[in-house]
C-alpha cells in the first residue's frame, strides 16, 4: 500500500521546463513577446505561462499551451515595460515551475524586414513601368494585342444605344483599397465617356459608400470630358446598401425591371456573382464580366458573354482608352511578368542543379 502510494507520488512529480527565454517579437507593431522553452521530458497535460513586470511581486497568468508546444506569444504585454516569464508544466498533481527567463521588453518596429523582398520587387516593377511610360510619352509606338472581352464593349454600347435601353455597370462589391475595384473604376470612366457620347442611359448601383463617391465623381468627370456635362444627373450613380445579398437582390430587381441591354459586372465579387450573372443572362442582356476573384470567374465564364480574367481586367482601361501613357504601363507590366518567369526558371535551375538556397533569399 505504502509502496504504491509512493510510486504514484513519484509519477506526479514532473521535471519542469528548462531554458525559458523571452524576446521581443520582431517586425511587429509592438505589444508582443515570444516565450520559448524546452519541454519537460515527462508526460504533462500542458503549459501555463506566467509574466512578472520588473519590480513587481505577482506572477500573472498570460496564457496556456498544449503539451506538445514549446513556444507562446504574449500579445497582451505593454510596450516599454521589462518583464520576465516562467513556464509551469501542468499535470494531474502539482505543477512544475521553471526558472524565470531573462527580462525582455516589447517595442514596435518602424520597418518590417519581412517585406524587404516586396520593396525590391516594387522598385523594380516601378522602374519598368516608369521607363515604358517615358518611352510612350516620347512617342514610341506600343503594340497591344486584341482582347475579345474588351472589343465587345464598343459593340455592347452600340447595341444598347440602338435598342434605346440602359447600360448597367456594377463596380463590384469590394472597397476602394481593392485593386479590382480601382481597375473597375478606370473602366467605368471609359464606359461613361462612351455612354455620354452616344446618349445612352447608364445605371451604376453601388455597395460601398466610398466607392459610390469615387464612381460618381469618375462618371461626372467622364461626362464633362465627353463634352456632355449637361447629360450627367445625380441618379446615374447611386448607393444601394452595404449588405451583400440585399445589394444582390436590388441589382437583380434592377435587371428585371429596367431591362438593360448590356450588363457590366466588373470588379471584386463573392458569392453573389452567380446570382447577378444568372439574372442578367435570363433578362437577355449582353453581359461583360471581369474579376480577379478566382473562385467567381467560373460562374462569369458560364453565365456571361465575355469575361475578363484577372490581368485582362487591369489592362482594360489602357485597352479601351488607347492612351499611350496607359499602354506604356501595360508594357511595363508585361516586362515585370517576364521577369517573374525568368526568376522562376532560373531559381528552379539553381535550386535543383546547385542546391542553391533560393527560397531563403525571397
Amino acid at each position: 500500500m505504502f509502496a504504491s502510494t509512493l510510486a504514484a507520488l513519484v509519477l506526479l512529480v514532473v521535471t519542469p521546463p528548462t531554458g525559458v527565454s523571452a524576446v521581443d517579437r520582431p517586425n511587429d507593431g509592438g505589444r508582443a513577446i515570444i516565450v520559448t522553452w524546452t519541454r519537460s521530458p515527462d508526460p504533462v497535460t500542458g503549459y501555463r505561462i506566467l509574466r512578472q513586470p520588473e519590480g513587481g511581486e505577482a506572477w500573472d497568468t498570460v496564457g496556456f499551451t498544449g503539451p506538445r508546444l514549446a513556444s507562446f506569444v504574449d500579445e497582451g504585454t505593454p510596450d516599454g515595460v521589462r518583464s520576465r516569464y516562467r513556464v509551469l508544466a501542468l499535470t494531474d498533481g502539482e505543477p512544475a515551475e521553471s526558472e524565470p527567463s531573462g527580462y525582455a521588453v516589447s517595442t514596435p518596429q518602424w520597418f518590417n524586414t519581412n517585406y524587404i523582398p516586396a520593396l525590391v520587387f516594387t522598385f523594380v516593377f516601378g522602374f519598368l513601368i516608369i521607363f515604358f511610360l517615358r518611352q510612350a510619352k516620347r512617342g514610341a509606338k506600343l503594340f497591344m494585342r486584341r482582347i475579345a472581352g474588351l472589343d465587345a464593349v464598343e459593340e455592347a454600347l452600340g447595341r444598347a444605344t440602338e435598342m434605346g435601353r440602359p447600360i448597367l455597370y456594377v463596380p463590384g462589391l469590394s472597397s476602394i483599397d481593392d485593386v479590382a475595384t480601382i481597375a473597375s473604376i478606370n473602366i467605368l470612366g471609359e464606359v461613361a465617356k462612351k455612354t455620354a457620347k452616344f446618349g445612352t442611359p447608364l445605371i451604376v448601383p453601388n455597395r460601398d459608400p466610398i466607392v459610390y463617391t469615387v464612381a460618381r465623381e469618375t462618371v461626372k468627370q467622364s461626362y464633362t470630358e465627353a463634352g456632355r456635362p449637361d447629360a450627367f444627373h445625380q441618379d446615374i450613380v447611386f448607393f444601394v446598401t452595404d449588405q451583400q445579398f440585399a445589394y444582390a437582390a436590388a441589382v437583380d430587381g434592377i435587371m428585371t425591371r429596367e431591362k438593360p441591354a448590356t450588363n457590366f459586372l466588373i470588379g471584386m465579387f463573392w458569392a453573389e456573382s452567380l446570382i447577378l450573372a444568372e439574372t442578367g443572362a435570363m433578362s437577355g442582356a449582353v453581359q461583360i464580366a471581369g474579376t480577379d476573384a478566382l473562385s467567381q470567374l467560373p460562374f462569369f465564364i458560364t453565365a456571361c458573354d465575355y469575361t475578363l480574367i484577372g490581368e485582362e481586367l487591369y489592362a482594360a482601361s489602357a485597352y479601351l482608352s488607347r492612351e499611350p501613357v496607359l499602354l506604356g504601363a501595360i508594357k511595363g507590366q508585361d516586362y515585370s511578368k517576364a521577369l517573374i518567369l525568368v526568376l522562376i526558371i532560373v531559381g528552379t535551375l539553381l535550386a535543383v542543379a546547385f542546391r542553391a538556397p533560393v527560397l531563403e533569399l525571397l
Binding site: F125, I182, I210, G253, A351
Partner: protein, 214 residues
C-alpha cells in the same frame, strides 16, 4: 405534419421568414410584386441596420465618446476630412469631396501594394520554384513540376504587348487549358457549397415551418 404555430412568439417569426423566403424564391418564376416587396424590405432593413451599427459600434465608441472626454483629439481633423464627403450635397463646394477621395484612393493603393506584392508575387514565386526537397516523394515531385509548367504557361497567356505567335502561341494555349481545369475544379466545389445552402433553406421550410421533416 406539425406546422409552426403563428400565434406563438417563436412561430410568428418562422412564418415571417418562411413567407419572405417564398417571396424571394418566386423570382425563379419571374419578377413579381412579392419579390419586389421582399427586395425592398431587405434593402431597407439592411440600410437601417447599417446606420445603427455604424452609429453605435463605430462613431460613438471610437469618435464621439473619446473626443467628448478630451481624449484622442487628433481624431477631430480626421473626422472633419471624412465629413467633406457630405459637401457633395452643396453644389458650390462639392469639389471638396475630392480631398477625402484622394486620401482614400492613395491610402488604399499604398496599403494594398506591399500586401499584394508579397502575397500574390513573392509567396507564389516561392511556392512555384521547384527544389530538390520537392522530390522527397516522387508524387509530390511530379505535382511540383506540373505546377511549375502551369504557372509558366498561364503567365504567358497574360502577355498583352506582343502578338500570340511563335513559341508563345502553343505555350499560352496550354496556359488556357490549365486555367480552364482550375476553373472547372473551382466551379464544382462552389456549386456543392451553394447546393448545401439551398438544402439548408429547404430544411427550414419543410422542417421548422411545415414540420414535414425533423
Amino acid at each position: 405534419m406539425n406546422i409552426a404555430n403563428p400565434l406563438t412568439p417563436e412561430g410568428i417569426w418562422v412564418w415571417v421568414a418562411a413567407i419572405l423566403t417564398m417571396a424571394v424564391f418566386s423570382f425563379l418564376y419571374r419578377e413579381n410584386p412579392f419579390y419586389r416587396f421582399a427586395e425592398h424590405l431587405f434593402v431597407g432593413i439592411a440600410n437601417g441596420y447599417a446606420i445603427t451599427f455604424y452609429w453605435h459600434r463605430i462613431l460613438v465608441p471610437y469618435l464621439f465618446s473619446p473626443v467628448s472626454q478630451g481624449q484622442k483629439l487628433y481624431l477631430i481633423p480626421i473626422a472633419m476630412i471624412g465629413a467633406l464627403y457630405f459637401t457633395r450635397f452643396i453644389p458650390k463646394v462639392s469639389w471638396l469631396v475630392r480631398f477625402p477621395i484622394a486620401i482614400a484612393l492613395g491610402y488604399g493603393a499604398g496599403a494594398s501594394i506591399p500586401r499584394s506584392v508579397d502575397a500574390t508575387i513573392i509567396q507564389q514565386l516561392k511556392a512555384t520554384i521547384v527544389t530538390r526537397a520537392s522530390f522527397a516523394d516522387w508524387q509530390q515531385g511530379v505535382w511540383a513540376v506540373i505546377i511549375l509548367l502551369g504557372v509558366i504557361c498561364t503567365i504567358s497567356y497574360f502577355f498583352f504587348s506582343s502578338e500570340r505567335k511563335g513559341l508563345l502561341k502553343p505555350i499560352s494555349y496550354v496556359g488556357v487549358v490549365f486555367i480552364m481545369v482550375g476553373f472547372g475544379a473551382s466551379f464544382g466545389y462552389t456549386v456543392m457549397a451553394r447546393i448545401s445552402l439551398f438544402i439548408g433553406r429547404l430544411q427550414f421550410l419543410l422542417g421548422d415551418w411545415l414540420g414535414l421533416i425533423r
